[in-house]
Amino acid sequence: MKASKYLSIVQKNPRYRVNYNPIYAILEGLYVQKSSEELQHKYLINEIINEELTKDFKIGGHPDYDYLLNEIKEEKDFYNENNQVANVKLCSLFIDLRNFTKRALFVQDPGIETIQEIAKLKQKAISTWIKLARYYQGHIHSITGDGLMVLIGGKKPEDEDEWTIGARAFLIALRVLESADFLNDELKQTLIEKGKESYATNSHNLLNIKVGIEYSPETLMNPQGVIVNINGEKKPVGEVKATAFEIDFSAKLLGYYNDAEKKLDGSPKYGRILLFGEKYKELMDFNDEIDVVYLSEYSRQMFDTTQTRKLYYMDCKELKYNIITLEDVAKKCNVYNASETAKNVSINIAREEKIQHG
């Protein structure tokens, strides 16, 4: 059993207790109203997301370490260890639309999708993932060709507990996999409306999302870039980067997607596989209720030494839509709450109203 202070993080940050899946709030909007409970939950979640998207939101770098770039006055400052932060605990989450690039190849022939529709689909996916990442307080480190790199962890109160960093990455990953269902439902609908129903049933024409996570306990946060000269003033241009093998390993994991998919039973197969490295497995310590499957080994030689890392995956079919709160994740891991209990100070009750009790 692993000790974690996740409850004290949940206690201060109610978004981790919200018992409603944010994917509905993001993708259904406020139009589909099933009940007043759902509507209130959607408002509540959208309020949190809206706040995240205004309050110092940016893409690239890391808001807790971006100040490092401001310290750079000249070229050699990039190499100064005082302008870097070592041993930062981060989870690196890499999301990618599988086989998406090829869609644009078919806009002329057979011409079922227009280039605008393809762009719209990708924009919808990327914006959904950004909102999900921000809801769980992850940082968008970069937008890649058809995907996104998210870093979870930093200097904020919610980053104080390393298991919680992993659990938040897990929640983002599940929500991203769920987004495949929503995006595909919409895609199928469009194909049906175009009278191309037969294409809607073939999964090759649908979207798939690959997600990989690795935990990087010793990340170096360092500014990268060049010094430019603007009107005689020297300024650094660039961004703060996370450097560690594990940070980039989350992207490498996606290369093993097909091996994992071959092992899946049932259909559809999209939106189910979460790939992760051995460091993440160790961090999370999933219990018996979760089937963690060993997939492969990543092995490289250099300086007469062989380094290997193990790769794992899990089928998230039964976890999607069921694991919503941070405590739901805790129930699937060998973790216990080690938060300190509140200290006793002088009681000062803030109640104002005269109330009648039952």
């Binding site: 206690q11 018992n19 803030a350 109640r351």
Partner: protein, 555 residues
């Protein structure tokens, strides 16, 4: 209306029916020929047509009217109306399920339904929509009832088939057609069946089951001390014994079971019989026959008794719930939890039922001056047969043994004692609930180790714009109306709207039920605001974070 019935009559006449009186048609189905060798004659009574469903009586099968023995044992959806002599039973065809007055339910439709009914019976092919799962072989049209328990039925199922067992059954002393009343000393079976008046008097039969508390209770409540007793024969028929009418059933019993050597004093013979129903399910029937039936000396006579049993429902809220405070709100929560089949309810309240509580509490006048927790536990235990589900305890015991607590105690001081002292480091969830005068604002707060504390909620009210607004609205609304009524002795009492109190109790029970199912909560707090004349409350819920300025955070 008249046009309606005339149209139907004309249609039926076209199908070969003739009218024996203004509203009763008589005819043959099928109109010509037969179905697999069967044809029937029926009457269709159109009293109060079309609002009342036409009553269809089977009169003859293949031209013969000895239906009591002729009806094939595999026929279904046929209800026997018995009036003491099963040879004179009337058989109603049940083929117009879900009747309502509709233009398309005309004469032709009625005829076709009867045709389909006959067709289904002779081919044993039923349309699932016509074949209600609740259908029994023998219906139970009578006002006298026998109460059986799961335990009794289970025991009966274990009995050897064809062997007669006996049990004592209590009931009201019989009253006779002559106007006389039976003696309490004499066993019920020592009277002639035909002398007993089952028309104007309804009897309740309760088996003697000392091992079952609920039977002791209903015996006491229903019959009191002055009750009579009969010996019932209990019998299980072999699985292959099939019948459709009372007459056929009685014949099976008489021909197969050894019921000789009865005491000469036995004038009527009560039975409880288990048999295998149409769909292979066990069915139980109860009736009283005449002595002459057993001896073979006279016609069979039968008085059926309807059977009722108490449901043994599965646990609905699988929790031990501790109720701290069982006043106006807490007692409603307790009462609902009992009906939700909660695993265990612990009640704690040091208060006694006062005169002004009457009409504001689940407990009524007969508990005046009793301790609320103990009286409520007893009342609910007995009324709902939940002997092990309720216990009156202290706050400390409730806190220790419960999976979750519901606090609805009477005043701010006791509330604070619990919130900021006794339950301050409590590791299990606590549901706090309170209400304003006139129930204009009702609040529920759920605290757990992962939420803020109750005082964090008070802090949140001051800063959260929505909560602040709700509090202000409530304050303004409360001010408009009197909050207290002063009784004749000069004691003030806060005014409650009881229907809103009950509503709040339903919400607490819904929260408990959700927690029981999912192990988590849908929100940490919920407010219900009711304008004085609102019928529907306006809910607002949210999540409770530890407030930085609360003393629980060292603030």
């Amino acid at each position: 209306m008249d046009n309606n019935i005339n149209g139907v009559k004309a249609e039926l006449e076209k199908l070969g029916f003739s009218f024996v009186d203004e509203t009763t048609a008589y005819g043959r189905v099928p109109e010509r020929g037969d179905i697999n060798g069967y044809y029937i004659h029926v009457t269709i009574e159109l009293n109060n047509f079309p609002l009342s469903q036409p009553s269809i009586t089977l009169v003859k099968i293949n031209g013969k009217d000895d239906l009591y023995r002729r009806i094939p044992i595999n026929w279904r959806h046929l209800d026997e109306i018995i009036n003491i002599n099963p040879k004179l039973s009337v058989f109603k065809i049940c083929c117009l399920h879900n009747w309502s007055a509709k233009r398309e339910y005309n004469g032709k439709y009625i005829y076709e339904r009867i045709y389909d009914w006959l067709n289904s019976n002779v081919t044993s092919q039923w349309n699932p929509e016509e074949d209600l799962p609740s259908f029994r072989v023998l219906p139970q049209y009578t006002n006298s009832r026998l109460y059986l328990s799961d335990y009794f039925i289970a025991k009966l199922r274990e009995n050897k088939p064809k062997i007669l067992y006996q049990c004592n059954v209590y009931h009201e002393p019989y009253k006779f057609k002559s106007g006389a009343k039976a003696s309490l000393q004499k066993q019920g079976e020592k009277y002639e069946l035909t002398d007993i008046d089952f028309e104007k008097n309804f009897y309740h039969y309760i088996p003697d089951m000392p091992q079952e508390q609920k039977f002791e209770i209903i015996k006491k409540l229903r019959l009191g001390d002055k009750c009579a007793k009969s010996h019932f024969f209990v019998l299980r028929l072999p699985r292959h014994s099939r019948f459709k009418t009372f007459y056929q059933l009685l014949t099976i019993i008489r021909d197969n079971i050894n019921i000789k050597n009865l005491s000469q004093e036995m004038k009527n013979i009560p039975f409880i019989v288990m048999y295998t129903g149409d769909k292979g399910k066990d069915e139980v029937v109860s009736f009283i026959t005449n002595r002459g039936y057993v001896d073979g000396k006279s016609d069979y006579l039968v008085q059926p008794l309807a059977i009722e049993s108490f449901s043994n429902r599965p646990i609905g809220v699988d929790l031990t719930v501790g109720l701290l405070g069982v006043g106006s709100l807490g007692s409603e929560v307790a009462s609902l939890l009992v009906k939700k089949d909660t695993r265990k309810i612990l009640l704690s309240d040091f208060d006694f039922l006062r005169a002004d509580n009457i009409g504001r509490h689940v407990l009524g006048a007969r508990y005046l001056g009793n301790k609320k927790s103990i009286a409520l536990a007893n009342e609910l235990k007995i009324n709902f047969f939940k002997f092990n589900a309720l216990t009156a305890v202290t706050d400390e015991e409730a806190a220790e043994k419960a999976d979750i607590l519901v606090v609805t105690v009477g005043n701010n001081q006791s509330f604070d004692q619990l919130a900021f002292n006794k339950l301050w480091h409590y590791k299990k969830p606590v549901i706090w609930a309170w209400t304003s005068p006139n129930n204009i604002l009702q609040e529920i707060v759920i605290t757990t180790p992962s939420s803020g504390c109750l005082n964090c909620y008070y802090e949140k009210i001051k800063t959260d714009p929505v909560l602040k607004q709700i509090q202000q609205n409530a304050k303004d609304e409360i001010k408009k109306y009197p909050s207290e009524e002063v009784d004749v002795c000069g004691n003030p009492h806060t005014i409650s709207q009881m229907e809103r109190m009950v509503f709040l109790a339903t919400q607490i029970v819904s929260i408990l039920s959700y927690y029981s199912k999912h192990g988590k909560f849908k929100f940490d707090y919920v407010n219900y605001y009711w304008g004085m004349d609102d019928i529907i409350p306006t809910p607002h819920f949210g999540y409770l974070e530890a407030h930085p300025s609360c003393f629980c955070q060292g603030g």
